[in-house]
């Protein structure tokens, strides 16, 4: 049997807006993936540790506080440093268009703003995940 895609949904920083993270977590689970949700208030170190522990294929970051340019990038760099180059990193939240090119360059392959349909995230993961 083919191994299910394993996804870590994480909330870095102090932001408490968890509606999006929870909805996406459920949608990915309903799409047949294995989902681990970290809960709130995670430091980049905690997220990367969890990604290693859980041996995930995808890390999904959710942040609506505007701190994405610091915290998303911290997580991406730390994952790389720990040798998790194969992990697909995606992110979502209140993210201005102009921030997206820089995030992509830092390794956040998919950036999803408000109004994203869950099926688009599912498709994106299926197309881009390395297994």
């Amino acid at each position: 049997m083919e191994r299910k895609i394993r996804v870590l949904i994480a909330k870095p920083g102090l932001d408490g807006h968890d509606r999006g993270a929870k909805v996406v977590a459920r949608a990915l689970r309903d799409a047949g993936m294995e989902v681990i949700y970290t809960g709130l208030h995670q430091t980049p170190e905690m997220i990367v540790d969890a990604a290693i522990q859980e041996d995930v294929d995808v890390v999904g970051l959710s942040l609506l506080s505007g701190a994405h340019m610091t915290l998303f990038i911290d997580v991406a760099r730390l994952l790389k440093k720990k040798g998790m180059d194969d992990v697909l990193i995606i992110g979502g939240g209140i993210i201005p268009e102009e921030d997206i090119p820089r995030l992509k360059k830092e390794g956040i392959k998919g950036v999803f703003g408000p109004g994203t349909l869950c099926e688009d995230i599912v498709d994106f993961i299926k197309k881009n995940v390395k297994k």
Binding site: G16, L64, G66, I94, G115, C118
Partner: protein, 558 residues
Amino acid sequence: MFDEKELENIKKKKVDWENNCYSEHVKKHPERKKKFENLSWEEIKQLYTPDDISHLDYLKDIGFPGLYPFLRGIHPTMHRGRLWTMRQFSGFGTAEETNKRYHYLLEHGETGLSVAFDYPTLYGYDTDHPFARGEFGKCGVAVSSLKDMEILFKGIPVDRITTSMTINGPAAIIWAMYIANAENRGIDRRVIGGTIQNDILKEYIAQKSFIFPPEPSMRLIIDTFEFGSKEVPRWNTISISGYHIREAGSTAVQELAFTLGNGLEYVRWAMKRGLKLDDFAPRLSFFFNAHNDFFEEIAKYRAARRIWARELKKLGAKKPRSLYMRFHTQTAGCTLTAQQPEINIIRVTIQALAAVLGGTQSLHTNSMDEALALPSEKAVRIALRTQQIIAEESGVTNTVDPLGGSYYIEWLTDKMEEECYKYWDRVEQLGGVLPAIEKGFFQREIAKSAYKYQKEIDEKKRIIVGVNKYQLDEPIEIPILKMDEKGEERQINRLKKLRKERNNQKVERNLKRLRKAAEGDKNLMPFILDCVHSYATLGETCQVLRDVFGEYKEPVIY
């Protein structure tokens, strides 16, 4: 409410209409959908008539504005007497930048202030704390000490303008800074008016910016009730909030039920402390969301007024003011779309109109660019102008509760009230509000609704213009707010300087006294005020309370 004979006649004619006129018509021209539902998934019929509200007694259930049960409004004249306060929630970067925005908004006709704090402040951390990394000034202004508060309100007449502050975990400390700033400017604390959100229950349920566990948090809140009713009589010491519950994905019914349920929980705690209901109840205020379903929102505000008045009366409130469900409204941030952001102006207009027709006391209208970033000056001005057009041009303020008496509105108001009581029964079965939080009941109910709503959008059962219908593939052209890049550095330097120049012996002494008081059961407000006056920082003061009270960790539920 209707003459029995006349009602019988109406019922008969309605059956006729259904069987003949309506049925014949839909045979040839079917309705667009099999089932019409509002945002709480309540089925809505094609027509409402006197038959749907025949059980209501006008004098008992509807009545007059300014009189019990206040369904039609808390004041006899409502917006004919005084318009709602136009209060735009704002804050970003340094205190200097936000102060400039406040002056800008007041110059353009805003009538009250509303402070958004950044995440470190909301969690009681100073800007230089490691957990503050990346968060400085991002979704609000950073206030780490009385120094920042002084800058934030520079040139603003705090004796005349009321200020609402969205702060919960460290509400007592931030409020103390506001009081201290006024006092240092020679303004009596009895004169200042405003609101602290100070509603920790909805933090556990929805917004999640909590610090301490429930019991000590409730103690702090009751301390502010007690202190406020004696010392700062014009201050609303709590804003019991449904807004965030709704933003987290609840339905309108859940918002109504959970918010008023939380309100009664605060009342119970305050009474347990021995406070007199009529001393603190007049200073309880509410905060609701204005979402997309126009009539449902209006019915929600009306139902909230009637339920609150009834429950407070049951508890023994005597003053009419104790029975008032006074509320602020904000249009629903979660309905804003990043796609075609300009059309958010129309969404906000409809939502704001619902709040006004529902009898709000103050209103925030969201800016069109808020699904992308904090609002630019122009966007926030248009949002404010939206309120001004409703107030000055639309004519909806000419009479009180213009939708009162509509068969549909009265039926829906009643229905929402009924559903609210059903939720309260379920919470009671779980042992009350705090046990229900610990068991994750509210969190699970909200997550379920949020997922169902999103699924309907994904499946195009629910249409969001510009998102799953009428999409446009063109780049978004909207200017984004730019913040001072050197702001964080300046703020950290200010903090360092403050810690060096203040009387540190005095700070230490005051923090020690606060710790001792926190370990006992004295009202903490006077001790917090002493700390703040001596320029102890938010982080230092909060750390003392963290040491004594511990920190809350939430159950992970999705």
